[in-house]
């Protein structure tokens, strides 16, 4: 059979089948779209957390808080000692006044809150920038050395948060994988059963086609195309659902945090993830279509 006419015939029969069994297909489409949306939602959450991890991982700064009893000369001495430590690129001394002023700026219109607080609430600090190529181990070593300096009360840097976040992201990724596998199975079962029902409804028609000389592929392809189309449309609907939900969530965050969380929490469904949803949906639909009709053809 000539290619173009064969494809047109296959597509035509697939669309006719879908229209005639539209209720069944609509149900299967809804289940698939919702299932793929769950996978998409996981992907968005994982993407956002991965961005946070990258942002924190890029941070090579350790803050060493200076005790309240250390005077200005002592603070200068601590700054010099910190600067002399191996792996340190730059040290900035933030006095109590500077720290207070920076905090006030961060609070914006609520900065007046600080007026009622005592002078020693916000301590002076050394903001120590390590070399850009410092490894997590080197950062830990440097934090320990800064903590050992006389006059330094506490050391803070992102390593712990990073570790916790990495664990959280890994857990979410594993959950996404497990849910993804489960959903893939559900999708194949839903599609193959939907198409199996349409195959059963067309059992006589298929038998007649075979009696007049139809090949297996002539009979099978429309059903495979049905699965493929169903998966494709479900993938597109899933993208729309995830995108809309994410937009609503981002809008809510924006309203509450007034942009303070930018630029970390601004990731939408990426083109790669969107393509995977459509491609994955189509592939699962195609597999479902092949499974359903393949077994049936053997008995004809």
């Amino acid at each position: 059979m000539r290619g173009g006419r064969f494809l047109a015939s296959v597509l035509g029969r697939a669309l006719r089948n879908m229209w005639e069994q539209r209720r069944l297909h609509l149900l299967a489409l809804s289940v698939m779209a919702l299932s793929l949306s769950v996978v998409g939602a996981f992907a968005v959450v994982a993407s956002n957390l991965a961005r946070v991890r990258t942002a924190l991982g890029a941070e090579r700064v350790i803050t060493a808080f200076v005790g309240a009893g250390v005077d200005a000369a002592g603070q200068q001495r601590l700054r010099d000692e910190a600067a002399a430590l191996p792996g340190v690129a730059r040290v900035e001394l933030m006095t109590v006044e500077q720290a207070r002023e920076r905090f006030r700026e961060a609070l914006g219109p609520h900065g007046a809150i600080l007026d009622g607080l005592g002078g020693d609430v916000i301590p002076a600090a050394l903001v120590v920038a390590a070399h850009a190529d410092a490894t997590p181990d080197q950062m830990s070593a440097l934090a320990r050395q800064l903590g050992a300096l006389v006059g330094v009360e506490e050391v803070a840097y992102a390593a712990e948060e990073l570790k916790r976040l990495t664990t959280l992201i890994r857990a979410i990724e594993l959950a996404a994988l497990a849910v993804g596998i489960l959903i893939a199975l559900v999708t194949v079962i839903v599609v193959s059963n939907t198409i199996r029902l349409t195959v059963l409804a067309r059992q006589d028609e298929i038998a007649i086609m075979k009696l007049v000389g139809a090949t297996d592929s002539f009979v099978q392809l429309p059903f495979v195309v049905e699965g493929l189309l169903e998966g494709l449309v479900a993938g597109l609907i899933a993208i729309a659902i995830v995108w809309s939900l994410n937009a609503v969530v981002l809008g809510a965050i924006g309203a509450v945090a007034a942009g303070a969380l930018d630029p970390i929490f601004v990731v939408q469904l990426s083109p790669t993830h969107a393509s995977l949803l459509v491609g994955g949906g189509s592939l699962l639909g195609l597999v479902g279509g092949m499974v359903s009709v393949g077994r049936f053809l053997k008995v004809l």
Binding site: F6, E20, D204, E205, K210, L211, V212, G213, T215
Partner: protein
């Protein structure tokens, strides 16, 4: 044209042979009645010829092809060279008369224009051109059988098999259908008709192959 050598067929779970040691020869252009009581093996024999069933043993030659050795992939090609008519017509309810007949050409990928021309020609031949847009289920049994014959003939097969083609029809319609099959044979097509209707056999005086309990008892060669 059609040769069977020691063909036997048993169905799974059945004790008796559906066909046993069948030997027969049908020449090109012949018209043959296949007769016998119900359960004699007429339908099984026809099914073996269009590969709806496989023989348990023996060889079946159609032209130069050994049907017993055909692979699954080769079966459609065989079926395209044989037209088959059934007692229950086997028409697709959701398609029109035209579409039912065109199906035979659609599965071969014929051009639309060719399909239209040939379907209209064959519908004219069976007297149903004026009903080409009708739904088959709205037509009489005789008309439905004529659609089935048109579907079997539209690709101009070299062999036409008919399994009790008049089984569901009244005598007048039966005669109409048999005349049609006779006409097809007159144009050169080899025709095998399975029937247990003795009036038809007497009326047309063609070669008769009689089966009983799966064995050929008369007219095998």
């Amino acid at each position: 044209m059609i040769q069977l050598f020691h063909v036997a067929k048993t169905y799974r779970g059945a004790d008796d042979y559906a066909l046993a040691d069948v030997n027969l020869n049908v020449d090109k252009g012949e018209f043959v009645f296949l007769t016998g009581p119900s359960g004699a093996g007429k339908t099984t024999l026809l099914k073996l010829l269009f590969a709806a069933e496989r023989p348990s043993s023996g060889q079946i030659l159609i032209g130069n092809r050994n049907i017993a050795r055909l692979s699954r992939r080769q079966i459609p090609e065989l079926r395209r060279s044989i037209g088959v008519v059934f007692q229950d017509f086997k028409l697709i309810e959701s398609l029109t008369v035209f579409e039912n007949v065109a199906l035979t050409l659609d599965v071969r990928g014929e051009r639309r224009r060719t399909t239209r021309t040939r379907v209209e020609q064959v519908l004219k031949r069976v007297g149903l051109l004026h009903k080409k847009h009708a739904a088959p289920m709205h037509l009489s049994g005789g008309e439905q059988q004529r659609i089935a014959i048109a579907r079997a003939l539209v690709a101009e097969p070299s062999i036409l098999l008919a399994d009790e083609p008049t089984g569901n029809l009244d005598p007048e319609r039966s005669l109409d259908i048999m005349n049609m099959l006779n006409d097809v044979n007159a144009r050169g097509t080899t025709v095998l008709v399975a029937t247990h209707d003795p009036t038809m056999i007497e009326r047309y005086r063609k070669r008769v192959i009689a089966l009983e309990a799966g064995r050929v008892v008369r007219g095998g060669s």
